[in-house]
């Protein structure tokens, strides 16, 4: 008999860890229809007839976020045979809030208190039998990470599912609320199953429009229900939603307090608290953050990452390397020999070697640096430090018109801008949300790392500070944008308060780190084998062919090619930025498809057999022009995938155009300032470009410091 089991719980309580352990490779990931909330289903290992659904992490079943709507819809409409409610043992009271609601929806529930290893480390004891007695449902101890208690939990859930006996909530609300609920039950959900009427009554009491619509209530019924609600609100002096929440938490306190025993003295600090005294210290927090990120980029770009990338670029994708005294030829050498031995036509050899290998190889060459960076970012996120960064930066962000809540999408954007942009949905304030969408991609994503590494390697001796400066300039651009935009009418207003739970520090498991690195790394390799491959072929074709004497054929010189003709038309735009030649202009344009294409395009257009890409580039541009190129590519419109995400999230063509226009404009001016002021201070001369840079800089400063006519006055 096939059974459906849903795993429900708060975010970060270990649901996915549990789900992955129980299903192994037997899982499929998609999206819930109509939203981009991830849907994960899988078959229980060894029991193909049992389907597990990993519901999105939610704090309640209220209809305020896509995750809550999806989870509630699934529980009420698809009716799983049982719910495995995962409770975070280190945050019992918070977790039990959701439990009180799950017990009301008429489905068998089994509670599993997770992270018991952490609970014991904190010196806390949870009386699980007492909890089970109070809640009226089976409660078990598990540790999803250490895989303990899982067999018993599954056995209990399957038993509950097969019995089909729905959970009966033991909690009740205050007298006045129960009175109102009783009246509402009389009026509303008569045609609904008996064990669900109370649930619907509570939702109607909370003025849940979704439920009212679902129940098909008439206006007269709704009016009567509203009268009951107002009577109760007037008596208790609070709104109905708050009354329900207060009563739920009062019940949770009554249940949790007797079940918890603390062995360390109350008020004494845990290890996480002691670490936070230093890491979130008022004075030390930011310098520590700067040192940590500097170290991360130093090791990734200059240290071992730089060494491995050099081997990749000049060995594997170059002339070759020496392995224990043996000469190992690189891929271009091997392929070149093969193509020559097969007497392949020149144009085809050129396509393969100068196009595909040069282009894809240039991007793939930076894989070692990216893998190491992914490792560090995954470590910092998994250990809990990144939550502290959001907290630390909240105070600074507020001074610039943002809040720490905006940092979460930005943090996600360090991996990829698309989920970063979509994470802005957690920001309720529309103006702040739009501002976050516009600025999230200023932070370098993993795709921009090859560009940073190429510029650092070719012009600055592989210096670690190039990549680190790009990161901090990205943050500066976000702060600058916050200040600037908050002074405009569409973005005025106070930033919303930011409430964040700091998880306990924990040592990330090797498995989770490896999984995270594999996910990101394989995504990059797939991109290299698809988009970058096709873009390299297109770049090769358009840079190798032209109309020679009216006849279409291979160009004798790349400067006379189709691509050069197009590039020369637009190159003039970038002249004030110091890199007004067609190659860099074309490379920047191809970066719109995928930022790694900037590197692969340069790999094709600057490819020679005599020297490496970095050496060729170093001869083509000055370090100042190269840094200006880096700044432009860092800050301008992101790749097409991210542009598409911005279009969807902005919900309007004008806002979308404004976002992209703003990004390109800021990138242009910043790159111009870098080049023009850099030239001025290094004795490069004074020209029209310098004048333009001075005028634009003064204008921007004025925009930043002018009186904020749209500042809302605090009462």
């Amino acid at each position: 008999m096939s059974l459906k089991i849903a795993i429900a719980g708060n975010p970060k309580c270990g649901k996915t860890t549990l789900f992955n352990t129980l299903t192994g490779a037997n899982q499929f990931v998609g999206n819930w229809p109509g939203v981009t909330v991830e849907k994960k289903e899988g078959r229980l290992k060894g029991r193909k007839d049992i389907t597990l659904t990993d519901l999105p992490g939610i704090y309640s079943l209220s209809p305020y976020s896509p995750e809550e709507i999806v989870a509630r819809g699934y529980l009420l409409d698809e009716k799983p045979d049982a719910v495995l409610n995962l409770i975070d043992g280190t945050a019992l009271e918070r977790s039990l809030f959701l439990t009180t609601q799950l017990l009301e929806i008429g489905v068998p529930v089994v509670c599993a208190v997770n992270m018991m290893d952490e609970v014991r480390k904190q010196g806390v004891k949870i009386n699980v039998p007492q909890l089970a007695n109070e809640l009226g449902v089976p409660v078990l101890e598990i540790s999803a990470l250490n895989k303990t208690g899982l067999t018993e939990a599954i056995a209990e859930v399957l038993h509950s599912a097969q019995s089909g006996k729905p959970a009966a909530p033991r909690h009740c609300f205050s007298g006045c609320v129960e009175h109102a609920l009783a009246h509402i039950e009389e009026y509303a959900p008569h045609n609904r199953p008996a064990h669900l009427r109370h649930w619907y009554a509570v939702k109607l009491f909370e003025r849940d429009d979704d439920m009212a619509e679902k129940l098909g209530l008439t206006d007269a019924q709704l009016a009567h229900i509203e009268k009951n609600i107002r009577t109760c609100e007037a008596e208790l002096g609070d709104d109905s939603v708050s009354l329900v929440i207060q009563d739920r938490y009062a019940y949770v306190d009554r249940v949790a307090a007797p079940a918890l025993r603390f062995s360390r003295k109350s008020g004494s600090l845990s290890l996480s608290d002691k670490i936070d005294l230093i890491v979130t210290n008022r004075v030390l927090a930011l310098p520590i953050f700067a040192v940590i990120m500097g170290f991360v980029y130093f090791v990734s770009v200059s240290g071992i990452g730089g060494t491995l990338t050099e081997w990749f670029n000049e060995g594997v994708f170059g002339k070759g390397w020496i392995f224990f005294g043996h000469d190992i030829p690189g891929i271009p050498e091997l392929l070149g020999s093969l193509l020559e031995s097969l007497n392949v036509a020149d144009w085809l050899s050129s396509l393969i070697l100068d196009g595909i290998v040069a282009g894809v190889g240039a991007a793939l060459g930076f894989l070692p640096q990216m893998i190491i960076l992914f490792f560090f970012l995954a470590f910092l996120e998994a250990c809990g430090y990144m939550s502290r960064i959001a907290f630390i930066l909240d105070k600074i962000f507020r001074r610039f018109g943002l809040s720490g809540k905006s940092f979460i999408p930005i943090l996600i954007g360090t991996g990829c801008g698309v989920p970063g942009i979509m994470a802005s949905r957690t920001i309720e304030n529309e103006a702040d949300r739009r501002m976050t969408i516009m600025t999230t991609t200023f932070i370098p994503c993993s795709a921009k790392l090859p560009v940073m590494a190429l510029i650092a390697g070719a012009f600055f001796g592989g210096a670690w500070w190039v990549a680190a400066s790009a990161y901090f300039i990205g943050v500066a651009a976000i702060l600058f944008s916050g200040t600037l935009l908050k002074r405009t009418k569409p973005f005025r207003g106070q930033s919303v308060p930011f409430v964040l739970e700091l998880p306990a520090y924990r040592v990330p498991t090797a498995r989770n780190l490896a999984h995270s690195i594999w996910e990101r790394g394989s995504s990059f390799i797939k991109k290299a084998g698809s988009i970058i491959l096709l873009a390299s072929v297109l770049i090769w074709f358009t840079s190798s062919f032209s109309f020679v004497g009216g006849v279409f054929g291979m160009a004798d010189d790349m400067d006379n090619s189709l691509l050069a003709a197009f590039g020369k038309e637009i190159a003039g735009l970038f002249a004030p930025l110091g890199w007004g030649d067609w190659r860099s202009a074309v490379a920047t344009i191809t970066g719109l498809v995928a930022k790694e294409n900037v590197v692969s395009t340069m790999g094709v257009l600057f490819h020679t057999d005599e020297e490496s890409l970095e050496a060729t580039l170093a001869g083509a541009y000055s370090p100042l022009a190269a840094y200006s190129l880096l700044m432009f590519n860092l800050l301008c419109a992101p790749c097409f995938a991210a542009i598409g995400a911005i279009r969807r999230e902005m919900n309007g063509p004008k806002w979308f155009a404004a976002a992209i226009g703003y990004q390109c404009a800021l990138a242009y001016f910043v790159a111009m300032w870098v080049y023009q002021f850099g030239r001025l201070f290094t004795g490069g001369g004074f020209g029209l470009g310098t004048v333009a840079a001075i005028v634009s800089a003064i204008s921007f400063v004025w925009l930043l410091v002018r009186k904020n006519a749209h500042k809302l006055h605090e009462i």
């Binding site: 998609g30 109509g34 981009t36 976020s65 809550e68 007497n343 979509m422 949905r425 698809s530 491959l533």
Partner: protein, 45 residues
């Protein structure tokens, strides 16, 4: 004559065919991925 052409350009034909197949597979894969991607998201209430 056709046979001569094929014999003289065997290497180009074989390598060209392999390269074309790879590029076609990549292009088809990208088009399929684009078509099967989920509908544009809407915000939750």
């Amino acid at each position: 004559m056709m046979l001569d052409f094929i014999q003289n350009n065997a290497g180009t034909i074989i390598i060209g065919a392999i390269a074309a197949a790879i590029l076609a597979a990549v292009l088809i894969g990208l088009v399929r991925k684009k078509r099967s991607s989920d509908c544009p998201a809407r915000r939750g209430k």
